[in-house]
Symmetry: C2
Subunit: 133 residues, 2 copies
DNA sequence: TTTAATATTGTTATAATATAACATTATGTA
DNA sequence: TACATAATGTTATATTATAACAATATTAAA
């Protein structure tokens, strides 16, 4: 579908491609190490690209891990509502796309009656592989 | 009720009391600054106490803010399931205690059939005060 | 199609967050 | 007591992230 990827700037594209190919969440300084051969030399260049990519929903930050993964929703829309499962053994992270869950959480209202258009949910446990061990 | 607080060590108690009195989440180095007069001089002393307090459920880490708040559940049990509302304007953080939400999330199973005994949920929006402005 | 606004880049320095490694002391428990 | 476990103290260092400033590229308006 290509979507908005064509609009990415040079650095944004380099960094998104790297994260998108990775099978696991990537940390900023690991990204930096991996793109130095492409001319991105400074942390700030990485963080700026990451900020933008998060802002436009191409990647998400896994807050509990300070790491970044590509959005796994085929649509890759700007996403303010995110949910992930994180294996506490192998650190595998999977984005959860579940309409019921999303609906439940966007409709949730707290004891003050407030509700929220934006959330981040991180589930922790053992993935199937690690459970077997 | 007092609970387990009596079991806290010296540093743990100093740091818990500080966080518990604070009206807002506290960051590690702000904690450090505030307890130096009580003899806690090094970051590691703070982080060790924080780790323990998180482990026993007396405090929670707000992952998106790298900050810590006292558990607001009266029971102060070991809590692996946490939910917070965060005001993106004034940064006020409130712990959400909602049995239905907790039940929904602990019973949630992803598309692989996995479910999870531990999660952290952070809602973002504007608190009532900030909404009015 | 120049102009003006906005976004992106490059660069150096530094701030903020967190842990490693090792020695010592305190506490709980057999 | 004595043994194990937990907590402390200390120095150094690793990791994560932003400030500040200058230059270039891209977009959109006049």
């Amino acid at each position: 579908m290509m979507e908005k990827q064509l609009n990415l700037s040079k650095n944004q594209k380099i960094i998104f491609d790297l994260i998108d190919k990775s099978s696991e969440p990537m940390k900023a300084y690991s990204i930096l190490f991996n793109v130095q051969k492409k001319g991105i030399k400074a942390p700030l260049q990485v963080y700026r690209a990451l900020d933008k990519l998060v802002e436009i929903g191409k990647i998400h930050k896994i807050e509990s891990r300070n790491a970044f993964i590509a959005c796994q929703n085929s649509s890759c829309q700007i996403s303010k509502t995110t949910a992930f499962s994180i294996c506490e053994s192998c650190e595998k992270v999977t984005e959860i796309k579940d309409n019921k869950l999303a609906k439940y959480l966007t409709n949730f209202s707290d004891n003050t009656g407030m509700n929220y258009k934006k959330y981040n949910l991180e589930f922790f446990g053992l993935c199937k592989k690690c459970k077997r061990k």
